[in-house]
Amino acid sequence: MELTPKITPFQFYTILFLSRVFAMVTYVASFMTQRSSTDEVIMSLIMGGFLLLTAIPTAIFIKKDNTSSIITRASCVSTVFSKILCVIFFIQSLYFGIITSVRFGIFTGSVMFPDINIIFFIFVMLAASSYIAYKGIEAMGRSAVIILIPVFIALIFVFATQSKQFDLLNFTSLFSVDIKNTFLSGLYSCTRTGELAFVTLLTPYVNNQKSRHLFRWIFAIVLTIFVSEILISGVLGNFAGTQLFSMYAMSVLAEFGFIERLDAIITCLWLLCAAVKIAITIFLCETLLSAFFGKRKQILFIVISASVIFLGTIPLSGSLITLANIIRSPLTIIFYLASVFLVPIAVMIGEKIKGRAKLEKN
């Protein structure tokens, strides 16, 4: 019998944290609303609130059973139900992977190599990520922890060096654009944390996972986004609204003494985060395909998943407007709420009904 490889909760949530950091770096505020500095900070707190709220079913789910994935538990309720879930989650993971690849393409195409065909870079990144996924979750977990160290140093470095440029006058009055828009942006920002769905799907790969690990991860994400938004607003002010990637723009300004041009190194770290994000997505796709077909053909499933992501990325790559329309579409919210909120609740209700029926039968 093949043993399931396992990683520690710290390694698992490090993967998810790095994945969310990349989403933070490639966040384009103007997609959502007219940028207002104070509202962006408030938005990060609203996002935290939504994230906590939507994480409750996941927390209950792993508290009840932290050894089986949502697919396995759904198959106990109904085999058809589990197959449907496999398809839903597979489509969602592909969507997640495509959006990440498009973001990666726009990021590299805008700030690194605007003269070069970004499709090539997306291909290279997908190939590298597929290789990481092929190496398995243990290798991914170990790499993530190693990557976390420089990413953490980079974040602290950017935050610390920019704090001296901080000016409270750069903030706007509260809800200066629109209160409704701020809440909506908070909700959309929450949907960018699609990694929450990975928690219930990859449960068997995590050793002794507890709800507290999940909440610590949420706290780390919200804190990082909150601090970065405060600094972006306080340092860049209105300039942040003119930049595609405001977090990147701030990291470009980071310098310390004679060390002036660290943005190239910091950009490499963001790219490593992208690699981790795409790799875990491909790994998840492979896991879902294996669950659907009932047998594991690792290389084939990885190649299929990466190819579909690549093919899905091609028509969208380079077009900011298309990406903005996709991100702003209600589909994003539906996908998110379905995967992290409705499905875990549905599975738990199914288990309860099935359990009661079993009891009555006995």
Partner: protein, 382 residues
């Protein structure tokens, strides 16, 4: 399998080099160190003076006194068009990441300045922390000074940094300028540079002479270096620096050790009142005395009072000038009002010039002397 594992890295090594496309090699790039922008009113064109580093010559090829830069002048209806023509003329691709300085000539109106900066905000290799300065005359004259073997743009950057350290010059980077220019009621400020002629050796050099206040709807206003210091006091941006006080009783030179300005805002009868409180610590570096006698506690008190009066009158004069006469909000009063009383701001910003002139500003200054130098103090006569 082993062979494949060896071949793949070899292929990657040979194909994924950073300089794969020819135009990314350093000899095919124009490494820009400074840009001067002027406007040819007759032709309605931007005139760009681009200073590039001589990358083709090695250090041994260059003489010690030879400036390691080349200057190009190009024209265009837009900045992008002008820069593109630079590439066409030289056959090289401009690289902005080493650019230290953008100098805006006096021929550019404030509106044209902002339009011209648009290019540098969008250009991906341009850095947001590049310095922006205004020239009293032509930007090209400032950029093409003889820097005695140094890169002129670097020299100008150092001059601005040093003047800012001495609190006689504002320190403005691209992102700051853009940030302030996007505020509805704020006038942004730029360090002002002029070309001066040194007598010995006879050569042209540059001097930071004050500040240019810019806004889209008012004429550019200039501030002298003493006014700039008063402005920096108001904006809580004083670093170090020195000033002299001369009154009937006492005369001394003082060096600023630290300064903290707190601006509060309140509404009185529906109108904003700004209270600016400056707390400053200074050292006495020179005391006007013919006898080298130590000064008394009473003298210290007199110097403090005179210094307070000097700073206060400077700030009051500047605030009076810019709020009542020039109608140019360089102090971000509008922004403060928008933060605290957005509804009042909404109403007042409709005619901000008028609102600004009616704004009440109260300045209080408190100066403390830290050190008095190596000389001792004498006791006051009772």
């Amino acid at each position: 399998m082993k062979k494949i594992k060896l071949i793949i890295p070899l292929i990657l090594l040979l194909t994924l080099t950073a300089c794969m496309p020819q135009n990314t090699e350093i000899k095919y790039r124009l490494v820009i160190s400074g840009i001067g922008l002027d406007f040819d009113k007759e032709k309605g064109q931007y005139e760009l003076t681009v200073q590039v580093l001589e990358t083709s010559k090695s250090s041994s090829e260059q003489g010690k006194s030879e400036t390691p830069v080349a200057n190009y002048t190009v024209k265009g209806k837009t900045v992008a068009q002008a820069i593109r023509s630079l590439g066409e003329n030289t056959g090289k691709y401009p690289l902005y990441s080493q650019n230290r300085m953008i100098i805006l000539g006096s021929s550019l109106t404030d509106g044209q300045m902002i339009k011209a900066l648009n290019f540098f905000v969008r250009e991906y290799t341009s850095r947001p922390d590049v310095f922006i300065a205004a020239a009293t005359g032509k930007a090209s004259d400032v950029l093409t000074i003889d820097a005695g073997g140094e890169v002129p743009a670097k020299l100008i950057e150092s001059a601005i940094e040093q003047s800012n350290e001495n609190s006689v010059c504002v320190d403005t980077e691209l992102y700051n300028t853009v940030n302030l220019s996007l505020e509805k009621t704020t006038c942004f400020t730029l360090p002002l540079i002029e070309v001066v002629e040194d007598r010995i050796p006879k050569q042209k050099t540059i001097k930071v002479t004050g500040t240019r206040a810019c806004s889209k709807d008012v004429e550019p206003k200039m501030m002298s270096d003493t006014e700039t210091m008063a402005y920096l006091f108001t904006m809580n941006k004083i670093n170090t620096g020195s000033f002299s006080i001369t009154s009937e009783d006492v005369s001394a030179a003082l060096e600023i050790i630290s300064s903290k300005t707190k601006t509060t805002l309140e509404l009185k009868n529906g109108k904003p009142v700004f209270n600016i409180d400056v707390k400053c610590e200074v050292d006495v570096v020179e005391f006007d005395s013919e006898t080298f006698t130590a000064f008394s506690e009473n003298d210290v008190h007199k110097i403090e009072k005179a210094a307070e009066q000097y700073i206060k009158s400077g700030m009051n004069g500047l605030i009076e000038r810019f709020t009542k006469k020039e109608h140019c909000d360089i102090f971000r009063f509008g922004k403060r009002l928008q933060q605290k009383y957005p509804d009042v701001y909404e109403e007042m910003s409709k005619d901000w010039k008028k609102s600004l002139s009616e704004t009440e500003v109260n300045v209080t200054v408190s100066v403390k002397i830290g050190r008095i130098g190596e000389m001792t103090m004498k006791a006051d006569k009772k």
